[in-house]
């Protein structure tokens, strides 16, 4: 039996034990039922901010209070390594910095930019550049994941009322922007895009060993069947390599595949004997993509990433779309009144006006369409690869690839148009003609009262701002800001261009112009080039007249006019001697007596050479003018009705003798109504416009040194 002291001690211990147990249980319950829900509600938990990384958290705990010091030292080291070009070490340091500061956005943004831009530019080989661009993008994507916002099934559902930690629109946007600038638009864009294509192809399917063989002469050769299958699967890559990068034999293409074998990829490193390489985890793939929140977005979990054609701008577009998720609900009356939004659930963009920011997905879609056309993809007719697949039995054999609809640029333009229209409707930049008319009518009262035009702000005293006048003032202000934001975002130009370009006539004209340009550059098929140009211009003019606002877009005018100048020069070069004779004849004809320049050797050889080419030559686009006054479309309808009425009557038999069937106009002729072809320099009547404005003509001529 224990003595009283021992008993008391035991009782005390027991009491302490019970107390500890009670307190511990109490704190546990308090944490579970009070603290955690509140933390959840206030978005204070680390998991609310995005993916949590165990090693980073452990490291931060280990450093206790010296995290700031460690980060500073590492940051300084990173700067020094950057200066000394120690790039592989820089990467390791940058990783450490971001592990220490995962919720501070600047290190992610700055260091990823450093890798993708500053480091990549120091490398000469596109492969090296591509590697560092990929590292920069992956780093920022990792940062985005750490700051992705609330996770969970309905994290991205903005309609539910649950609180959520918003992701960072700027980070997401910048990832897309990196793809766009460094792969889509860089100096070495053709190679960079090819490397991106390789990143998307299963390494087993692009293994050079798959294609190489030795021919009967003991030389290295390419297996035609395997290579044909590769071309079929990757027509854009092959065409880019052949047409733009000079890989003009299959062997050269395979060599490119061999040299670029180790590009960052979507797939694991291939192992011997595999017929299909497994995909990496979504976050470890390159190109890195956001989670597929919409059906139309590329799905990183699937081997077939997307049903669209793979393109760097598709990747950029997806990131731009993903960047829209954390934004507050869209304001249809921009500039009118700053609307409050729930800052716990949404985050606004910091780096640019939200109207511009919201336009990026549609802009990227336009780039996809432009890119397709720039690489020669217009419709579903595909590309016939010449030479490579010919043999002695069939010397003209060609392999047709890329007949899929996903290579149809017209469809890409249509999607761009739809996206622009939706963007315009969402942001209030696009007002339907009826809405525009209604608002203008309503605003007229105010404008007359304060004597301002539509482009001026105007103010009302508070005692005047009521009733009908207040409504008129609101309509005027809405129109004013609408115009202002449309100008800021260049909405009209993009919208009108996409509307015009999706026209099949414009697509076909582009195709002919592209072919003409290729023929012109090849220097061997000049006649075909001239024919293609000749065929293209009427179609182009038709496309412009069909959508008159399309033809008003200045870069559309400039691009077309530049091609026209090249066409004219080609024609002159091709018919140099004939033109020289004509010009000399005309000069001879201008003087009396008509002395022959050649017989009397009046011109030195240098002077003879200088006759051609004529610099101030004008072409078909210089001559076209069209009516762009008020109600132009209605006038066309009336004119068309006037023309068609007798024809319809003739079909009834009344004037059948006057209008034989051969004279029935094609419906497309309607677009040529209220247009005319006159000599360049003919004064433009009021409400009429030239197809290409004089300013744009001068711009192009100056650019080409013809001014």
């Amino acid at each position: 039996m224990a003595n009283p002291f021992q008993q008391r001690s035991r009782q005390r211990k027991l009491a302490y034990g019970v107390l500890i147990l009670l307190l511990f249980t109490g704190s546990l319950l308090h944490r579970r039922f009070v603290l955690e829900p509140r933390a959840e509600a206030l978005q204070l938990r680390e998991t609310s901010r995005g993916e949590v990384e165990l090693t980073g958290s452990a490291l931060r705990l280990l450093l206790t209070g010296s995290r700031g010091l460690a980060t500073t030292v590492l940051w300084d080291s990173a700067n020094k390594m950057m200066m000394k070009h120690q790039w592989n070490e820089l990467e390791l340091v940058v990783k450490s910095i971001t592990k220490l500061q995962p919720y501070f956005i600047t290190p992610w943004m700055f260091q990823s930019w450093n890798l993708a831009f500053n480091v990549s530019v120091e490398c000469d080989r596109p492969r090296d550049k591509y590697y560092y661009v990929s590292r920069g993008v992956e780093l920022l994507a990792e940062g985005e994941r750490r700051n992705q916002g609330s996770s969970g099934a309905d994290a991205f559902n903005i309609d539910n009322k649950k609180p959520r930690f918003p992701g960072h629109p700027d980070m997401r946007h910048f990832i897309g922007f990196m793809y766009q600038l460094k792969i889509g638009n860089s100096d070495e864009k053709a190679t960079m895009r090819c490397l991106l294509d390789l990143s998307l192809i299963d390494p087993v399917k692009r293994d050079p060993k798959l294609f190489l063989t030795v021919n009967e002469r003991g030389q290295q050769d390419v297996k035609r069947d395997e290579f044909a299958a590769f071309c079929k699967d990757n027509p854009r890559l092959v065409r880019r390599l052949r047409d733009f990068l000079g890989f003009d034999t299959p062997l050269k293409v395979v060599k490119f595949l061999a040299d670029s074998k180790a590009v960052p990829s979507r797939y694991e490193d291939p192992k011997a004997g595999q017929t299909e390489t497994p995909l990496r985890a979504p976050h470890a793939q390159f190109p890195v993509l956001p989670p597929p929140l919409e059906e139309s977005w590329p799905d990183v979990a699937k081997r077939e990433l997307t049903r669209e054609t793979t393109d760097v701008f598709l990747v950029a577009r997806t990131w731009y779309q993903y960047a829209q998720q954390p934004l507050p609900p869209v304001d249809r009356d921009p500039g009118m009144l700053e609307k409050e939004y729930d800052k716990q659930r949404f985050r606004n963009v910091k780096q640019m006006a939200s109207q511009i920011f919201r336009g990026y997905p549609s802009r990227a879609q336009i780039y996809i369409a432009e890119n397709l056309q720039a690489e020669g993809w217009f419709d579903d007719e595909g590309w016939a690869i010449p030479d490579w697949f010919s043999n002695s039995r069939n010397p003209d054999a060609e392999l047709l690839v890329g007949e899929d609809l996903k290579y149809h640029s017209g469809l890409a333009w249509r999607r761009g148009y739809d996206m622009y229209k939706q963007y315009g409707l969402d942001t209030g930049l696009y007002l339907t003609p009826d809405e525009l008319l209604r608002l203008n009518r309503k605003a007229q009262l105010f404008r007359d009262f304060v004597k301002v035009s539509g482009g001026e702000v105007g103010q009302l005293r508070s005692d005047q701002n009521k009733g009908e006048m207040a409504e008129s003032f609101l309509a005027h202000t809405k129109l004013y800001w609408n115009m202002s934001y449309r100008s800021m975002t260049n909405f009209d130009a993009h919208f009108d261009q996409s509307r015009g370009e999706m026209n099949p006539v414009a697509v076909h004209a582009h195709k002919l112009l592209y072919q003409a340009d290729r023929y012109r550059k090849s220097l061997e098929r000049v006649d075909q080039a001239i024919n293609s140009y000749d065929e293209a211009w009427p179609l182009w003019i038709q496309a412009c007249l069909e959508t008159s606002r399309f033809s008003l877009v200045s870069n559309v005018q400039e691009d077309a006019y530049e091609l026209l100048v090249q066409h004219m020069r080609l024609v002159q070069n091709q018919n140099r001697k004939s033109f020289q004779k004509v010009f000399k004849g005309m000069a001879q004809f201008g003087v009396w007596p008509h002395v022959s320049f050649d017989d009397f050797n009046l011109l030195t050889p240098e002077q003879n050479n200088k006759i051609m080419p004529v610099r101030t030559v004008r072409g078909i686009l210089d001559d076209v003018q069209f009516y762009d006054g008020p109600d132009a479309e209605k006038l066309k309808e009336i004119l068309q009705a006037v023309t068609y009425a007798p024809i319809h009557a003739s079909t009834l038999g009344a004037f059948g003798f006057c209008f034989p069937v051969a004279l029935v106009p094609h419906p497309a002729q309607r677009h040529f109504l209220l247009s005319r072809s006159v000599l360049y320099g003919t004064p433009v009547p009021a409400n009429w416009r030239p197809l290409v404005s004089n300013d744009n003509i001068m711009q192009v001529r100056e650019r080409l040194g013809l001014k």
Partner: protein, 678 residues
Amino acid sequence: MIFATLVLEREPLQTAEFLAALIVWVQNVGGVASLALAIWAIAILLQRMKVSVPLFSDRTEKVLPTSDLFVYGSLFCFVGYLAILFLSIAAGSSAGLTRFVPRLSFDQPLSIGDYVMTVCGAVALLIALYPIVTGLFGKLRWGRIEAMARLSFKEAVRSRVVLIFSAMALVFLFVDWFVQHKPEDQIRNYVRVVYWTMTPLFIITALMLGSFIIPNDVKNMSIHTIVTKPVEKFEIVLGRFLGYGLLLTLGVAGVALVSLGFILRTNVTDEAAKESYKARVALFGDLAFAGTKSTQKGESVGREWEYRSYISGPTVNVPERQFAIWSFGDLPSSLGRGVETLRFEYTFDIFRLSKGEEGKDIACTFTLAEGHLDGREVAKVKEAFKQESDAQEAEIRAAHSKNLGAAASADETAKAVEALQAKLKEARAALVQKHRFVELAGQPVTDNHTQSLEVPAVFFTALMEKTEARTAPNGKYYPQLRVYVSVDRTNSGESQMLGVARRDLYLIAAELPFWQNFLKGIVGMWCSVMLVLGIAVSCSTYLSGLISLFLTAMIYGLGQTTEYLQQVADKKVEGGGPLEGFTRLAGRKMLAVQLEDSPATSLIKGGDEFFSWIVRRLLNLVPDVARFDLHQYVANGFDISWGQVLFMDNLIPLVGYLLPWAILSYYLMKYREIANPS
């Protein structure tokens, strides 16, 4: 770097510089000793004490007639240093006094100040060492030291310190998750990660072990069980150091072997194998320039890091070439024997002045000639070589044209062409041997990549055969070989700049296995661990464990920042010293803005001058720990030489730095009151 090049901003200590380094060491260590002795001597004089010194093989200390010499000698040393200090400060305003100031670099001749400081330092060291040498002579027993070492080892093992080493396993397990790499950087990154992890792991272990054990012995009074035995106190220090040193050595060796296994088991990519999975025994030359503004430096392209100088190619406006010239002093006599060609490797930086052509390298010409020839003579040799080469080629082709014409079948033609090629090659080799001249034009240079060129071995054998003395009339010693590199003219007339540094071009004398080099690199790491252990044990002889730990960590930390400290000492930091920096901050003055001339500015600048002087002195006491980091060699595939790098640049500085700490720990332990008889 992303290419296999060795970037050393500080050259390893050369054998020829050993004496100069020793002088500096004597000056620095002697300076510290003289300061301590001066304090001691002043105390002796003030207290009118008699100095007793120990005698050899005698436990008692006796007052000798010469003892006063120690006191006055100490004061003499201190006065010597003090005089040099005042002269150094005065030399700032009077140029005539510069010869009394110690030289700033090894290139300069020894000054009067150097002699004075060396003598004073040597005397101070002798005075400081005398009691140790005489006091310990014949008294130190290896058996006791060994027992102490064994005890330390056992204590450390029992305290499960070795478990810390297993933390490396985490790296091996998870490194692949975090370390992504370009194919060519694979080995480089693994080596980097292993070194980055191992170094702090062992440094921290050494720091903890060295700092706490003696203070803990004192605290637990276990030291009394030792010092009451007939044992020298210094034996405790030595025993502890050796015991822990042995433990750490075994730890470093064990972890290094496992790390090596980890690297070797990886599937090394072809690119990485080519760049760094080897140990090149490379011969480096000295770099000079021709055609640029200075023979010591090329052009600057405005890069912040001025490690590389640039040469440009000829242009329409400036048709003259600029040259980067590597001079190779003494080549090994065996070079070129038994092989057909020898390989030079080069890794240059390209600074583009225009975009150039995508995916196209720039072309350079490499000219190899005898070292005693100057530029004009090389041009003459080149001309003669070309003429003879053209004539010979024409002759050979003419002679073989008949055979070629007579060939009836493809096989015969191929044979004839082969014979022609062989003959041409033979003739060319003979010419190379005759003129001792090789020119390789149009060699491609890719930015940031290692490339190589093969040079016929006959060229080197011809160089070796030349027995004439390589001494010029003025006594200058000619190099054996010079390699001239210049950028070729492009068809478009564009010019690009080629960035070169001394170690960017090298001759491969041999290639050794990677594993061997990896382990050599670990020796450097071991040196830094021993350095930390030595400092920590020395500090702990007097200070408490925690203070020892912080002090050692601070000294090591300062050692890591010597580059920056050097900039502060040389007043090269942007924005001036601390006072100027503070003034700028307070006055919101940008770095580009000059401070106004005023008495206050003079005062501020004077204060900063004094601060930089303090830092200069501090630099002499701080260990240059960067020299022990040999990962650059391993990661980039360059052999670490036993003599030059490991012995001269690692082991000797380690001993040199730890010796003064050992002296200090002797005195601190000796005069520490632990069970002292009195």
